[in-house]
């Protein structure tokens, strides 16, 4: 049986194939194809030489939705809402996240007033109907939407988490009157109270809905044509995976699809290597994603933002900065050298790709300094043209005559590094963590090339470069469990109910969760569920999650467990009665984790050195060229140590070991870079 993981990034599409019978991995990389993203996936599958009919699972990370939000290129969304509440998105919570700036502006709403239609209807908090909805009025409102071009509609009524009847009726009618439209309701996207947060998350879902639905539908169809009969799974922001069908309806749950795959892989590797604390740094062509992992635990929260928009779906806390290999260097007013956030992307790509790009990028700078191999191939077919890189950088250099071309190239890299350092500071220093207590896990096509400098800036001592770093996120999607989180908002005071009521509600949710996972092809043995309750003391407004293991079988035990969590978190407990606000169930379908084959240990270091003149090249470090040994990663023997300056090449990534650093080859082939003692 074959498993395939594919990750579509802004510049490259990466693939991993695992052949279970041979216990072997294969990796491939192809340029992404933004005009038709499915093509890039097919290209990678072709390079992996996959027999689609023999594939059991295909797991996919995709950042199309994220990019659409960040670049504000989503659908034109219309909204139906409860009368009197058309400004919920524009008013938001009225808070001012930028302090001490009289000119700070509010984020423009995803759906403007002119596309928001009010419906006379009203649910109450307990699910009772105060104002019934009239179909005629609903039809009238829907008729006001220009149905010509298929668009997206978000249906957002008050208290729909308590009674979804009106939203569901509106969705049914909209499906009729707006054929081909992407229609979603807040009760499906996020059935939780607090209208602004729910409405905004629903609007985000609609904003990227048509794009993701079209993409995943096209992918399913074209893979089926190629003989694939299995299911497609999509990496979700919480670090799990879900079926493509579900992702097509609820794309907002996949906004961190790509980066989540990398973090999932980092957690897996951390457990294997016994590395508890790491900061991950996934540098691709367009952007870099960083995440702080403490105690083998990736922080997940549902209070994050994508761009400036509140997204209340659970997601791993990942910080993204628009700096990658393809980021363009340019001069700001006052001739200040800047790098990114604009990227040359996959088309035309950096100047050295020879596809028509003329602006200098980080990749061009690395090529010029010898850190990338001139004439080498990056991500398959592309041969890197040093002359084009030189031309692009020299053009920029004319405006900064005080710098030699190489100095300028090194400056470009230093600025890109500074931007990544700042992103890491936000998630470490900014949250009270000292980066010096962490290992930097560098992956993505460009991560291992810059990691040592990032570590130096942050005084981090060690850098881990995993095997096949350019395909690490795709590997992560392969080993991630299928996970569905269900939430029900149901207020209940434990002291006034029978404990069996709680048990019964969870049983019902579990039955549903199991059934859904079985539909996704998970064998019953592999399914397990995790119960938790959102609880608070009566009178509080924010709930705390309390795990509900089978050992808790009484109201007293439940309240005691809550008080313990409360005290641990907030430093005190109370004798006040508690209140349950929400029931949460995670249904997890475990997938087997492929073991990595042992790394060959025989042979001498020299056998890994490239032969002839390729074995040494001049690489520019700190203002001058150094004669530098070049190794082929696949041939580096286990236990070997490489002393910088050195370059380690492999398909899809280049690791740079600067002067003053050493790299050790670990048991399973991963590299550990350490700063040599001064």
């Amino acid at each position: 049986m074959l498993w395939v993981g594919v990750d579509v990034g802004g510049t490259f599409t990466d693939g991993v194939l695992y052949d279970e019978s041979a216990a072997a991995f294969r990796y491939a990389k192809a340029p992404s194809t933004p005009s038709d993203p499915v093509q890039g996936v097919l290209d990678v599958l072709f390079l992996l030489e996959v027999d689609l009919a023999a594939v059991e699972r295909l797991v996919h990370g995709v950042t199309l939705g994220t990019n659409a939000i960040l670049e504000r290129k989503g659908a034109e969304v219309w909204m139906l809402t409860t009368q009197g509440f058309r400004d919920v998105l524009e008013i938001a919570r009225t808070n001012r996240p930028v302090l001490y700036d009289i000119k700070s502006l509010k984020t423009p709403p995803l759906v403007p007033r002119t596309r928001t239609l009010e419906i006379e209807e009203r649910m109450m908090f307990d699910g009772s109907v105060r104002v019934p909805m009239r179909e005629a009025q609903l039809r009238e409102a829907l008729a006001a939407i220009p149905a010509g071009q298929p668009g997206a509609l978000a249906v957002c009524f008050l208290h729909s988490y308590a009674n979804p009847a009106h939203e569901q009726a509106a969705v049914r009618l909209a499906a009729e009157t707006l054929p081909g439209w992407f229609v979603c309701a807040s009760c499906e996207v996020l059935p939780q109270y607090r209208e602004y947060e729910r409405f905004n998350t629903t609007a985000l879902n609609a904003y990227i809905g048509p794009l993701m639905d079209g993409y995943l539908g096209g992918l399913q169809a074209r893979l089926a044509e190629g003989g694939y009969g299995g299911k497609i799974f999509i990496m979700t922001s919480n670090g799990g995976v879900s079926s493509a069908e579900r992702a097509r309806k609820l794309p907002v749950h996949t906004v961190l699809s790509g980066p989540a795959g990398g973090v999932a892989a980092a957690l897996h590797l951390g457990a294997l290597l016994d590395i508890e604390n790491q900061i991950t740094c996934d540098m691709g062509g367009t952007s870099t994603d960083v995440c702080l992992v403490e105690g083998l635990h990736a922080p997940v929260s549902n209070e994050q933002y994508i761009g400036e928009y509140a997204n209340r779906t659970p997601q791993i806390e990942i910080n993204t900065v628009g700096a990658g290999g393809g980021s363009i260097a340019w001069l700001d007013a006052g001739d200040i050298l800047m790098v990114g956030p604009r990227s040359a992307g996959a088309q035309p790509g950096p100047a050295c790709y020879g596809q028509g790009g003329t602006e200098p990028t980080v990749t061009d700078a690395n090529l010029l300094l010898g850190r990338l191999r001139p004439g080498g191939r990056l991500g398959g077919a592309l041969a890197l043209d040093e002359a084009l890189a030189l031309k692009a950088i020299a053009k920029l250099g004319k405006r900064i005559p005080s710098l030699e071309t190489e100095q300028l190239a090194e400056g470009i890299i230093r600025i890109a590094v500074a931007r990544m350092v700042s992103a890491i500071k936000q998630i470490s220093i900014g949250k009270g963590f000292d980066p010096r207590d962490f290992i930097l896990n560098a992956y993505g096509g460009a991560g291992p090339m810059h990691a040592a400098w990032i570590a130096e800036e942050l005084e981090m001592l060690r850098v881990l470069v995993p095997l096949a770093p350019g395909n690490f996120a795709a590997f992560g999607s392969l080993i991630s469990d299928i996970r569905q989180d269900a939430v029900r908002t149901r207020a209940m005071q434990p002291r006034t109910v029978n404990f069996a009521e709680i048990e019964n509600l969870f049983r019902e949710m579990e039955d549903q969760g199991r059934a859904r996972l079985r539909e996704e092809g998970v064998p019953p043995r592999a399914i397990h569920t995790l119960r938790s309750l959102g609880m608070r003391y009566l009178g509080q407004s924010w709930e705390l999650d309390v795990d509900l293991p089978a050992s808790i079988q009484s109201v007293e035990a439940l309240e005691a467990a809550f008080s313990e969590v409360h005290e641990r978190r907030f430093g005190h407990r109370s004798a006040e009665a508690t209140e349950i606000v929400s029931f949460k169930l995670a249904s997890v379908g475990r997938v087997p984790k492929p073991a990595r084959p042992p790394w060959p240990g025989k042979g001498k270091l020299d056998t890994a050195r490239l032969t002839g003149k390729d074995g040494t090249r001049q690489v520019y470090f700190s203002g001058k060229f150094h004669s530098t040994a070049v190794y082929e990663r696949e041939l580096l023997p286990r236990g070997a140590g490489v002393t910088g300056p050195a370059i380690v090449e492999e398909n899809g990534a280049t690791t740079v070991v600067p002067p003053g650093w050493r790299a050790a080859v670990l048991e399973q082939g991963d590299l550990m870079l350490e700063r040599a003692a001064p």
């Binding site: 524009e90 930028v98 000119k103 500071k425 220093i429 409360h566 907030f570 430093g571």
Partner: protein, 694 residues
């Protein structure tokens, strides 16, 4: 803090830049963690939904060394509270002591803001950096649910006053004090929860601070803090140094009712820029009044600081270093230096008016960096009663945000809290309110036409309607800018002021003292309609791009009528701009402006009032007719400086009718001299049955 600590050398090893950042950011991270703890563990909706609280860390000398997304109105006056407590307990602070205070005369803001100071010591009992929390408790006793009422005449009506006391002494809770406090507050079990939420946050901080000292050592931590304060100070000084030296004046008002008559209270500011320092002097401001619009200089100073920092040096960290370049002065027992036993409920309004006068003064030197006036009140509406469904009392509290002033580059943001409010959320989730209280939120939308008209429009306020579903409740509000609206600058118009009415059985009831209502009895199905003010405009509305005016009409942000009358823009039947008619109308409106010359007169006292002081403008009957003004009409005078002067009409048949009389301060505010032309216009005022105080 003495300068020598910031010098490298001495016993401590020199600080490397990473450690400097790790320590400084680490302290801010501690504050952030405190914030999360409080939000999650509090019982007052004001704290958990609204973020009406702040946390900060102080060094052993009482300097604020770290804060985060904390409410500037709270956190900026906090050092004064720390100083008062340190004075009271000098050499008498021990491990396990916790201090509580809310006294507006001694380190507090208003009584609802309850402050907890938590001294921290190391194993040698040496004091360390310590946390403080100031949180708005939804009720602290007093005459109405929610405690503060616009009609208080003394502080005893506003709740329980707590001077700095040790509520916990060497780890033991002072149960007697606690019981006394709790017996005098509504919904005491929730207040106790609020207390423990603040305490819990301080404990979290204590733990983290201990770890930070352990890891980096006392010397390095203190060295990092000192360097950080110095660099923050330097940053603001560099900006101030760029301003031309000189004196810049402005005046504005707070709304006070003296026995049912409006008796506006004067706030005057002289801002002196000298080198890299600013001196803010409130000389000439109103003596304190038996009404809520009094506060301390710490509070008024917070307003000055916010306005200076947010225009001159936006963004960046704020700590004690940033306060150093600004020196404050105030007359004793005035509205900006409150003494016993005057009420102090409207500290937010005093602070906000300090922002208004500072912006007005700064506009004279940096018009490109300021905005039109902000909506200007915190607008606390409260409804209290007994919730039958949940079997307990409740207090609803919301202050729907208004608009912000337009500025050079953009229209003012709508329904967005003012810059002195920080990240506070002024409204709760309607779904959350309805889950917890017998109320129904029926409408929550932007208020059309409320933004001040200008080349850049002021932001819009909100209209929020709340229906009472239970049998009875009691409504209070403490608002300002309900009569005297936020001003526009550079020729722009004022915004619409705050308005609250009650809709009862099809009728709309108005209050006799707009903005100040105490314990008004609500009946079942009454709807409280709250309308917040817009922000002031920026620049002449007749110069606003007609396309933007059209878009505002299409979006429903302004009415067709205001497009014509306010902006001089005529739309065709198809909705497009009628260019020709627009140019003609704009010329006509421009020509109709009432211009009069100024006569310098330093002999007369321009102010009148009972306990307040308001500026009078003497008009001849013909002038009054031209302005459609009667005795006591509210007028606006536009001069050479960006911000206008407000005054009330005093019609004098003996007046010359040629010019208007202006005193030296008035001329300084407007930037005009004898013979210069000014523009006069009338502003509408709500009806006040009691009239104006004499």
């Amino acid at each position: 803090m003495s300068k020598d600590k910031s010098q490298p050398g001495g016993q401590a090893p020199p600080l490397d830049p990473i450690t400097l950042e790790v320590v400084c950011e680490g302290l801010i991270a501690i504050v952030k963690e405190m914030r999360v703890t409080i939000i999650r563990a509090s019982y007052s909706s004001v704290i958990y939904e609204y973020d009406d609280f702040s946390c900060a860390l102080f060094d052993t000398e009482g300097q604020m060394v770290a804060q985060s997304w904390d409410h500037p109105g709270h956190v900026l006056p906090l050092p004064w509270g720390v100083r008062c407590a340190m004075d009271d307990f000098e050499n008498d602070l021990h491990p396990g002591d916790v201090i509580l205070l809310n006294d507006p005369y001694r380190g507090g803001t208003h009584l609802n803001d309850v402050t907890l100071l938590y001294p921290v010591f190391d194993e040698q009992e040496q004091p360390m950096i310590f946390p403080a929390v100031r949180a708005h408790w939804v009720d602290v006793g007093g005459m109405v649910p929610g405690s503060y009422s616009g009609m208080s005449t003394n502080i005893y009506q506003e709740g329980v006053r707590i001077p700095p006391i040790k509520i916990i002494e060497r780890g033991r809770l002072n149960k007697a004090a606690m019981a006394l406090l709790m017996h005098n507050m509504r919904v005491p079990q929730e207040r106790e929860g609020d207390f423990y939420a603040s305490l819990g946050a301080c404990r979290v901080a204590e733990n983290r601070i201990g770890k930070l000292y352990q890891k980096y050592g006392r010397e390095q931590v203190h060295q990092a803090v000192a360097l950080n304060l110095d660099r923050t100070e330097r940053r603001l000084r560099e900006q101030i140094a760029k301003l031309p030296d000189g004196e810049y004046c402005h005046e504005d008002y707070l709304e006070f009712y003296n026995d049912g008559r409006l008796d506006p209270v004067l706030m005057r500011l002289k801002l002196t820029v000298r080198g890299d320092s600013i001196i803010a002097d409130f000389a000439g401001s109103n003596p304190q009044v038996p009404g809520v619009v009094n506060s301390s200089l710490a509070v008024a100073g917070a307003g000055v600081f916010v306005a200076v920092k947010s225009t001159l040096d936006p963004g960046g960290a704020v700590n004690h270093g940033a306060f150093r370049p600004i020196e404050l002065h105030a007359p004793e027992a005035s509205i900006v230096d409150v003494r016993g036993d005057a009420p102090a409920g409207a500290h937010g309004e005093v602070r906000k008016r300090a922002v208004s006068v500072t912006l007005g003064a700064l506009a004279q030197i940096i018009p490109e960096l300021v905005s039109g006036d902000l909506c200007g009140t915190s607008f606390p509406n409260s409804i209290g009663g007994y919730n039958k469904r949940r079997g307990r009392q409740y207090v609803y509290y919301e202050g729907p945000a208004g608009g912000n002033g337009g500025f050079l580059e953009a229209d003012g943001p709508s329904a967005y809290v003012n810059v002195d409010f920080g990240n506070l959320k002024s409204i709760q989730s309607a779904e959350s309110i309805e889950n917890e209280m017998p109320l129904l939120v029926e409408r929550s939308e932007l208020r059309a036409d409320s933004g001040g008209e200008g080349m850049r429009r002021g932001g819009l306020g909100m209209r929020r309607e709340v229906r009472l579903l239970d049998e009875e409740g009691s409504y209070s509000v403490l608002s300002d800018r309900a009569v005297i609206p936020p001003y526009g600058i550079l020729g722009a118009s004022s915004a619409q002021p705050y308005v609250v009415t009650i809709s009862r059985e099809g009728r709309e009831l108005e209050f006799a003292t707009p903005g100040k209502v105490t314990g008004y009895p609500l009946r079942e199905n009454d709807v409280v309609i709250m309308r917040s003010a817009g922000g002031g405009g920026y620049g002449d509305p007749l110069r606003r791009e007609p396309e933007l005016v059209r878009a505002d009409v299409v979006g429903g942000y302004i009415s067709l009528e205001r497009a014509r009358e306010g902006y001089g823009v005529v739309l065709r039947k198809d909705g497009g701009v009628d260019e020709e008619a627009t140019s003609a109308l704009r010329r006509k409106l421009e020509g109709e402006r009432f211009r009069v010359p100024v006569r310098a007169d330093d002999e007369h006292d321009p102010y009148t009032g009972a306990k307040g002081r308001r500026r009078m403008l003497e008009l001849a009957p013909a002038q009054a007719e031209r302005l459609d003004a009667t005795e006591d009409s509210l007028l606006e005078i536009l001069g050479a400086h960006p911000a206008p002067l407000r005054a009330w009409a005093r019609i004098n048949p003996a007046a010359s009718g040629e010019a208007i009389r202006l005193d030296a301060f008035g001329r300084k505010v407007l930037g005009v001299n004898e013979g210069d032309m000014v523009i006069l216009r009338r502003l509408s005022m709500p009806s006040i049955p009691g009239g104006m105080a004499r």
